[in-house]
Amino acid sequence: MAEGSWTADEALERLYAAHWRQLVRLSVLLVRDVGTAEEVVQDAFIAVHRRWDRLRDPDKALAYLRQAVVNQSRSTLRHRMVVQRHVERGPDPVGEVTDEPAEGMARRAAVLEAMRALPQRQREVLALRYYLDLSEAEIANTLAISRGAVKSHASRGAAALRELLKGDER
């Protein structure tokens, strides 16, 4: 079937099959909580379905989905008063970090906590740059900021993330 002839329902199914998991993971990098991320991405899919008449193109739809996920993640964070005690005290002690799975989990938790501790723009730029592998131009479009701003958020964010994670490796 030609892509251009997808109905909104077909587009929804195909976009879901191809991108649902990755977009939820993107949102987890931004909001940390998986249930919240699922809600955010679910809303983004509903929004893209509603706008399909204007999008009509899988690439445009994907760009729109990304933007919706980032924006919605941001406003969810703003509205949810999540108590972030974890940020101050670092990752939960997981007992003796000897076996691989526990170690892996602790490392993942530390990275997610560090992401949460970053300023919002840096966090968004890092997630789009390094998780989704987007170009500076694509990130600039997604966040509606200049390419120069993308560059500076990326380099400051990367430095800050390293610093936060270094603190964890006592």
Binding site: E13, A18, W20, R21, G35, E38, Q42, M115, Y130
Partner: protein
């Protein structure tokens, strides 16, 4: 490794174990005002499988020409939505349970058999190990190939058989993401049952409506036996009057904490619900039961009484 690769690996790994819940049904429910699906319901009826023209369709691979960035995209370990049979005020119904499963859709069906079975001791399954052999998504149906029934024969009424068949339909549709397709069997799906009639041949089954098949209250989180401290958020699906979901934490028979939340809807099928964080920091350590209940405005005077789903939690 340069800085770019290092950061990419770090962030990719940080979310590599996130396996989101299956939400296509929920999304579809909110995007369509659709009429009822083609209304043929063939469970238990004699339907001969017509020779189908098979066209290869692989929905999951079609990503509009874009590559999947995540290296974990081909890792087949996922959170599977499995359906099991449990009691309810309306008789046996299906309950959904999430389990980590590795493999394609056939692995989900295998996990639904007694080789693996439900984590929740309130649920059961009649399907024996090794009975499901293969799953193929075709143009007009999901085809499930069957092996030989190993183990004792199971006595079943027509209604029970229908429910067991829906267990397959709901599980394999969730596994393939195709709840629009009927399930067609290659092999005899009724071979292990002692039925009222010898002439029941089932070749193809469509999905029955949720409200007639599923327990109207289903807990997704917490999972059975979850250790919690400080607080946790409970989630699930329900169809309850005005969307009201009551929850309780019980120690033995005694209710030590309770509250309620609201699902997004209730009329036509099950809708997701989620609680605020439930503070358990003041409870003594030990085993508790988390229960979610549908609303029963009549106090049991009408209808079935509340549907309940429970999970054991360990407060530490």
């Amino acid at each position: 490794m340069n800085e770019h690769d290092e950061l990419r690996d770090l962030l990719t790994d940080a979310v590599a174990d996130v396996e989101p819940e299956y939400r296509l049904d929920a999304i579809r429910a909110r995007t369509s005002r659709r009429t009822f699906r083609r209304g043929w319901y063939a469970a238990g009826a004699a339907v001969l499988a017509a020779a189908a023209v098979v066209t290869a369709v692989n929905l999951a691979q079609d990503d509009g020409g874009r590559r999947e960035n995540s290296p974990a995209a081909n890792d087949l370990t996922h959170t599977a939505a499995l359906y099991f049979v449990g009691d309810s005020p309306a008789g046996p119904r299906l309950y959904r349970e999430f389990q980590k499963v590795s493999g394609g859709p056939i692995a989900d069906l295998a996990a639904m058999t007694d080789a693996n079975g439900p984590d929740d001791p309130d649920y059961t399954t009649v399907w024996p190990r090794g009975f499901f052999r293969n799953v193929k998504v075709e143009d007009d149906a999901i085809e499930v190939s069957l092996g030989t029934w190993v183990g004792p024969q199971v006595e079943a009424t027509k209604a029970e058989l229908d429910l067991y068949l829906q267990q397959i339909v709901y599980t394999v549709q969730a596994a393939t993401g195709r709840d629009d397709l009927p399930v067609r069997f290659d092999g005899s799906v009724t071979q292990g049952f002692v039925l009222e009639s010898n002439y029941v041949i089932v070749a193809s089954v469509v999905r029955a409506p949720q409200l007639e098949t599923l327990a109207l209250m289903s807990v997704s989180d917490p999972v059975e036996g979850l250790a919690v401290h400080d607080s946790f958020i409970a989630r699930g699906r329900a169809s309850s009057f005005e969307g009201t979901v009551h929850w309780e934490i019980r120690r033995g028979q005694q209710v030590v904490l309770d509250g309620f939340t609201t699902a997004e809807g209730y009329v036509d099928h099950l809708y997701p619900w989620e609680t605020e964080p439930i503070d358990v920091s003041k409870l003594n350590p030990g085993r508790y039961t988390f229960a979610a209940l549908t609303d029963d405005p009549s106090g049991g005077a009408e209808g079935f009484g509340p549907f309940t789903d429970t999970r054991t939690i360990i407060v530490d």
